[in-house]
């Protein structure tokens, strides 16, 4: 059943309808992400797919949080696709994984978002409730 997944994306765990774990790899030779695998956690609400799932990177011993100007070091991702406005019910786990893959592939900056440290220290909100500020659309 995993044969349908595109390269670089693997399903790790889908025991129930609440939480899924996926692993993604960047396929081209981007030196920032070379030889690394990242783990994504999808949390689905009861009204998925009408509502967006909550998607974060998870840190484990073998899975770091990828460096990216839109990924905080606690795994929270700023991607408009994943918030209330940007989500569309035609998206699914696979398309989200592919969007993140392409977001990493296209990145050349080996850095965290501005204010990462204080955000990670102070944020107690769930990712969907963080009001992100869309001023930088260049990356």
């Amino acid at each position: 059943m995993h044969a349908h997944l595109p390269p670089g994306i693997t399903l790790v765990q889908a025991d129930n309808l609440d939480t899924w774990l996926m692993d993604i790899r960047v396929l081209d030779d981007n030196p920032i992400y070379r030889n690394q695998t990242y783990r994504l956690k999808f949390v689905f609400s009861g009204s998925y797919p009408i509502e967006a799932p909550e998607v974060t990177f998870v840190k484990t011993e073998s899975h770091p949080i990828p460096m990216h100007p839109h990924i905080y070091s606690n795994g929270i991702i700023c991607l408009d696709l994943l918030d209330r406005q940007g989500w569309s019910p035609v998206h699914n786990v696979e398309s989200v994984c592919m969007s993140l893959q392409s977001m990493l592939t296209g990145n050349t900056k080996n850095e965290r978002p501005e204010g990462d440290e204080s955000f990670v220290r102070n944020n107690r909100l769930r990712p969907r409730d963080v009001s992100f500020y869309f001023h930088d659309n260049t990356v």
Binding site: M1, H2, H4, L5, P6, P7, G8, I9, L11, A14, N16, L17, W20, M22, V26, L27, D28, F44, S47, Y48, P49, I50, E51, P69, H70, Y72, C78, L79, D80, L81, D83, G86, S88, P89, V90, H91, N92, V93, E94, S95, M98, S99, Q101, S102, M103, T105, G106, P113, E114, G115, S118, F119, V130, F132, Y133, F134, H135, D136, N137, V139
Partner: protein, 528 residues
């Protein structure tokens, strides 16, 4: 990486890859994905909906099956219906609600174009928007309802949807659906939703509602007794209520009257029935296993049948045959042999693959060798190279040493296999020494290149080192000049300020928290 199919770009490409789970890329019209192929397997797995197992990854989208209003309607519909006119069966059997088509078990492979991009099920009451995107009516309503900012956009392409209203009666956003689409949807073959109860019906989706409403033996209907409030499958629905407990005459167990026949047919521990074949009186509980294996009248074949014995007889007559049948006597041995053969075949396949790999490697080595010493030898095919030295040593005793230039066909055939092997051995030895030479040459060449390369690198490093040293000296000079100037300036005052860095750091930490920055996929989509 293989650029044409790179999935990292794939999301925004118009030629979406096959597979039932890819979504149509947003912002591109008419890009319904190519094929459906495996979808049938996905949808035809009944467990998917029964136990709420996660649907086929990566689309846990069949959730609609569990949460959709129509499904809730179906399960919550109270089976208390007013007792209609005795002759109006249709009215009284109006218990089954509209079937939620997304929960059905599809047998035919469903083309990807017939799948709703929201619920990932074959479209149910399809609705087409002005932008040409098609969704299930219910899915689209739920998706548009959830859009907060007052503007309604197509879930696939975000084109404005005009004329939508929460009130289904006032909706004006639908455009006509091509008839071929509804026909294709209606012709998908599905199983009866009562399949778990035992119905074997499977036919076109367009007829499933009719089947369930009018014909299915397993459709639950309201009990003919209006006060009862229970349901009864159509095939057991008679004139009176069957929802009372009664005692089984044989085992004295209390059984629902409705279930009595089933109980007596297969469950009652006290009841026995005559076997239809041998006539023996068998308890009904054991009847099925009796018929399949123990009944002396069941026709069975000789244990040697896989190896050629065509004898078939009732169970009872088999024993005498087995005693005399030579094939049956051999059967255990033969099956053991068969098993051994199978494992060996598997092993052989493995070895064959290994040999293939090795051969491939060998031939690539050979071709490498022949191209590397093409300068010294006239190019030969590997076969010639093999046979050439062999023939040369074959015409030994010095007499025919001139024949080394003669064509191969002129040499006499080998007298004995030993000789032949010897020649082969010789030729192989030659071959090996050639390989050795070639390797030595290659080795020397690579060593030389490596040496040259590292020498160059070393030189460059020395240059860089010198340059760095020069810069260091320059920097030192500049620094000392500056320090001198500072000292002269601040002369009487106490020492240079060292606290600057620390103060700056503290100020940085107390600065207001910067608002995080969000990435817009819209932007990148345009870029890609």
């Amino acid at each position: 990486m293989s650029a044409p199919n790179s999935p990292t770009l794939g999301l925004f490409r118009s030629d979406a890859r096959p597979g039932p789970l890819t979504i149509p890329p947003p912002n591109l019209e008419g890009t319904a994905t190519a094929t459906a192929t495996a979808t049938a397997a996905t949808w035809s797995d009944p467990r998917q909906f029964v136990v709420g197992a996660p649907p086929n990854p990566p689309s846990p989208l069949a959730l609609r099956a569990l949460t959709s209003p129509s499904n809730r309607r179906a399960t919550l519909a109270a089976p208390t219906l007013p007792l209609g006119h005795a002759d109006s069966i249709r009215k009284r059997s109006s218990l089954p609600a509209d079937i939620d088509l997304s929960t059905l078990d599809y047998i035919t492979a469903c083309d990807e174009n017939l799948i709703c991009p929201i619920c990932r099920c074959p479209l149910d009451k399809p609705v087409r928007l002005a932008c040409d995107h098609i969704f299930c009516d219910e899915c689209l309503n739920r998706a548009l309802e959830a859009q907060r900012n007052g503007e309604r956009n197509c879930p696939s392409c975000r084109t404005r949807v005009h004329g939508w209203s929460e009130d289904a009666g006032k909706q004006k956003h639908k455009t006509s659906i091509p008839r071929i689409l509804t026909q294709m949807l209606d012709e998908l073959v599905v199983r009866c939703p009562n399949g778990k109860a035992g119905c074997k019906w499977q036919d076109k989706r367009g007829e499933v509602q009719d089947h369930v409403d009018r014909y299915c033996d397993y459709t639950l209907l309201a009990c003919p007794e209006s006060e009862c409030g229970e349901v009864v499958p159509r095939k057991h629905r008679g004139k009176s209520c069957l929802h009372f407990h009664t005692k089984c005459e044989d085992c004295e167990q209390s059984v629902l009257r409705l279930d009595l026949e089933a109980h007596q047919e297969s469950e009652c521990p006290k009841r026995a029935k005559d076997c239809s074949k041998c006539g023996a009186n068998i308890p009904v509980r054991e009847l099925i296993s009796h018929l399949s294996s123990k009944c002396p009248e069941t026709i069975v074949s000789c244990p040697g049948s896989p190896y050629g014995c065509s004898f078939q007889s009732p169970h009872a007559d088999l024993k005498p045959h087995t005693k005399t049948c030579p094939i049956a006597a051999m059967a255990p041995f033969l099956s053991a042999q068969q098993a051994r053969q199978d494992t060996q075949e598997a092993q052989q396949k493995l070895l064959q693959r290994k040999v293939d790999v090795l051969e491939g490697g060998f031939s690539s080595i050979q071709s490498l060798l022949y191209t590397s010493d093409a300068g010294t030898r006239t190019p030969t095919t590997p076969l010639e190279a093999m046979s050439d030295p062999m023939l040369r040593s074959g015409s030994n005793n010095g007499a025919a040493s001139a024949s080394s230039t003669a064509p191969a066909t002129e040499n006499p055939p080998f007298d004995s296999s030993t000789e032949h092997l010897l020649f082969l051995h010789d030729s192989l030895r030659n071959e090996i020494s050639r390989v050795e030479n070639a390797l030595a040459v290659l080795d020397a060449r690579t060593t030389m290149t490596l040496l040259n390369e590292s020498l160059r690198a070393k030189e460059e490093m020395a240059h860089t080192n010198a340059a760095i040293n020069g810069m260091r000296m320059q920097l030192h000079w500049l620094m000392s000049a500056r320090l001198q100037a500072q000292r002269e300036q601040s002369g009487p005052r106490a020492g240079p300020s060292v606290g600057g860095g620390g103060a700056g750091g503290a100020a940085g930490a107390s600065a207001p928290m910067l608002r995080p920055v969000r990435r817009s996929s819209e932007e990148s989509r345009q870029k890609l």
